[in-house]
Symmetry: C2
C-alpha cells in the first residue's frame, strides 16, 4: 500500500519508452527530467531509447550573441512546421543558471511557437563539469529523436570552446555571422571555421556582406574543413527578420543531411563521440564521488603536502573503481 504512490510516479522503462515513441510530450519531459536529475534509471532509459533514435537530422546553430540566431531559428521552425515536420529545439547556454527545466515560451523570439504542439523547446543542463553540457545535449536530442521530432535544432549562445564541443552532437553545423563585426575572425579563433558545415551571413542587407563573404572564403582556405574533399561549406545570406534566404538555407541543410547520413566515416565519428562522452561523463562522476567529502579532502591534503603523489592516488582510485564496477 505504502509503495503504491511510488509505483504510480515511476512507470517501468518499457512503458516510458513506448509512450515516448508515441510522441507523448509528458513522457518525454519526464524522461528528460530523470536524465537531468541523474536519476539511477537515467542510463537504463537512454540505453533502451537508443535503438529508436538516429532518425532525426540534428542541426547546430551557433554564432555570437547579436547575430540573430534566435530569429533565424524561429524562422526555420516556421518553415519546417509549414512542411509538416515536428521540430525539436535544444537551447544550450554554458553560462546559464538554468538547470535543464523546460523554458517553453521563455525566449521572446520563440514565443510564437510556444503554443504549437509540434514544437518542443528545451534547454540543456550544464552538470558542472567539462563535457557535461554536450552529454546533456546528446541525451535531450536522443529523447526528442525517439519522440519523432525531426529536425532537432541546437542553438548555442556563443562561439567559445564549449560551443565547439556541443556542436559535435549535430550532423550539420551552421555558423551565423553578421557583416562588419569581425565575427569571422572570432569564429576562426574559436575553432569554429573547422566545424562549420554551412556559413550564414545574417542581416545580409547590412553594409559589408560582400566583404564578410570574401573574408570567409579567404579564411576557409587557411583552415580547410576536415571533409574538404567531399563537402565545401557554402555561404548562405539571410535576413532572418524578413525570412529572406531561409528557404535556401533549409535546402543546404537537406543537402548536408544526405551527406552526413550517408557517410560511413561521419557515422563512425558520431558514434565515437557518443561513446567518448558517456565515458567522460562517468569518469567525471567517479572523480567527483571519490574526491569530495572528508575522505577526499584527506587524500588531497596528502597530495598537497607531497606525502602522496597523483599517480599513486590515481592507481588507488582505479582499484576501488575496478572492484565496484
Amino acid at each position: 500500500m505504502v509503495s503504491a504512490p511510488a509505483m504510480a510516479s515511476a512507470p517501468s522503462i518499457p512503458e516510458l519508452v513506448a509512450r515516448i515513441r508515441a510522441g507523448e510530450v509528458r513522457a518525454g519531459a519526464r524522461a528528460m527530467r530523470l536524465v537531468d536529475d541523474r536519476h539511477t534509471l537515467g542510463p537504463a532509459l537512454l540505453s533502451a531509447l537508443y535503438p529508436h533514435g538516429g532518425r532525426a537530422h540534428v542541426i547546430g546553430v551557433t554564432g555570437n550573441p547579436g547575430s540573430g540566431k534566435s530569429t533565424l531559428t524561429s524562422a526555420l521552425i516556421a518553415l519546417y512546421r509549414a512542411r509538416g515536420h515536428k521540430v525539436g529545439v535544444v537551447c544550450v547556454d554554458p553560462s546559464s543558471p538554468f538547470s535543464g527545466g523546460a523554458i517553453l515560451g521563455d525566449r521572446i523570439r520563440m514565443a510564437e511557437h510556444a503554443l504549437d504542439d509540434g514544437v518542443f523547446i528545451r534547454s540543456a543542463a550544464t552538470r558542472g563539469h567539462l563535457g557535461g553540457l554536450s552529454r546533456s545535449t546528446s541525451d535531450q536530442v536522443l529523447v526528442l529523436d525517439a519522440m519523432g521530432y525531426d529536425p532537432i535544432i541546437l542553438e548555442t549562445v556563443g562561439v567559445g570552446q564549449d560551443e565547439v564541443e556541443v556542436v559535435r552532437v549535430a550532423h550539420t553545423t551552421a555558423v551565423v555571422l553578421v557583416p562588419g563585426l569581425g565575427d569571422e575572425i572570432q569564429a576562426m579563433k574559436a575553432g569554429l571555421l573547422e566545424v562549420a558545415d554551412v556559413f550564414v551571413v545574417n542581416k545580409a542587407d547590412r553594409e559589408g556582406a560582400d566583404r564578410t563573404e570574401k573574408d570567409l572564403r579567404m579564411l576557409q582556405g587557411l583552415g580547410p574543413h576536415p571533409d574538404a574533399a567531399s563537402w565545401e561549406a557554402p555561404i548562405v545570406r539571410t535576413v532572418a527578420t524578413s525570412g529572406q534566404g531561409v528557404e535556401r538555407l533549409a535546402e543546404v541543410f537537406d543537402q548536408h543531411r544526405a551527406f552526413a547520413f550517408d557517410s560511413l566515416q561521419k557515422r563512425r565519428e558520431r558514434a565515437r563521440y557518443e561513446v567518448e562522452s558517456v565515458l567522460r561523463d562517468r569518469w567525471a562522476r567517479t572523480v567527483e564521488a571519490r574526491l569530495t567529502g572528508a575522505g577526499g579532502a584527506t587524500l588531497l591534503d596528502e597530495v598537497a603536502s607531497r606525502a602522496l603523489d597523483p599517480w599513486t592516488l590515481a592507481d588507488r582510485l582505479n582499484e576501488v573503481r575496478g572492484g565496484q564496477a
Copy 2:
C-alpha cells in the same frame, strides 16, 4: 653483454631522480623526453619526482598574440636572473606542431637567454586530446621544479579555453592586455577574468591605457575573482620593451606567491587539479586504445547502426579496464 648499451641508455629511476635534483640539465631533458614520448617509465619517474617538487612559484603569462608576452617574459627572466634565481620557462601553444622538443633559442625575443645555464626553456606537447596539453605542462613543471628552477613561467599563445585550462597549473596567473584593442572584452569572453590574479596593461605608453584600466575595473565587478574575499587582482602597467613596471610586476607576483602558498584551499585546489588531470589523461589513453584499430571500428559501427548503445559499450569497456587494472 648485449644488454650493456641498453643499460647505458636507461639509467635507473633513483639515479635519474638524483641527477635531476642536482640540477643536471641533460638528466632533466631526458626525463622530459621520457614523459613526452609516453615511455612506460614516465609515470614511475614522475611519481618518484613528486615529493621533490612543490618549491617553485609557477607563474602563468597569458594574453592575445601581439600583447608582448614574450618580451615581458624575457624582461622577467632578466630580473629574476639578476636576483640570482634559476628560471624555467614552458611555452604552451595548443596550435603548434611542436612535439615537445627543446626550443632553446628558437624564439627570437628569448634568444638573449639561450646561452644562460640558469634559464631552461621548453615547449609543451599537446598529446592530441583535450586536457593533454595541461597534463604535459604539469609534467614539465614538475621536472623543472625538482631541478631547482624557481620561478617557472608558463607562457601561452592565446586566450582560448585551452589557455584557461593550462593556467590552472600556475599558482599565479597574469593576463596581459594592450590598450585600445578590446582585449579586455575578449579576455572576459574566454573566461580569463575569473582566473586572472594580476592584470598587466602592457605597452602602457600607448593611448588608451586609462580606458583599458577603467574597463577592467568595471568588468572585474561583473565577474568577481573566486578569491575576491582575500585577493583582488591588481592592475600593473608595463612597457616591456623598456623594462618599465617590470619590478613592480615581480613585486606583485611575490605578494601573490605568499598568498597562493599559504592558502590551504589553494593548495587543495591545485592537488585536486593534479589528480584530475592524471586521471583524465589515463581515461583518454584507455579510450584511445579501446576504440582505435579494427576491434574498435567494429564496435563503433555497431553503435552507429544502433545495434549497440553507448552505455552498454561503456560498461563493457569498464569491465575490460577493471580486469586489467
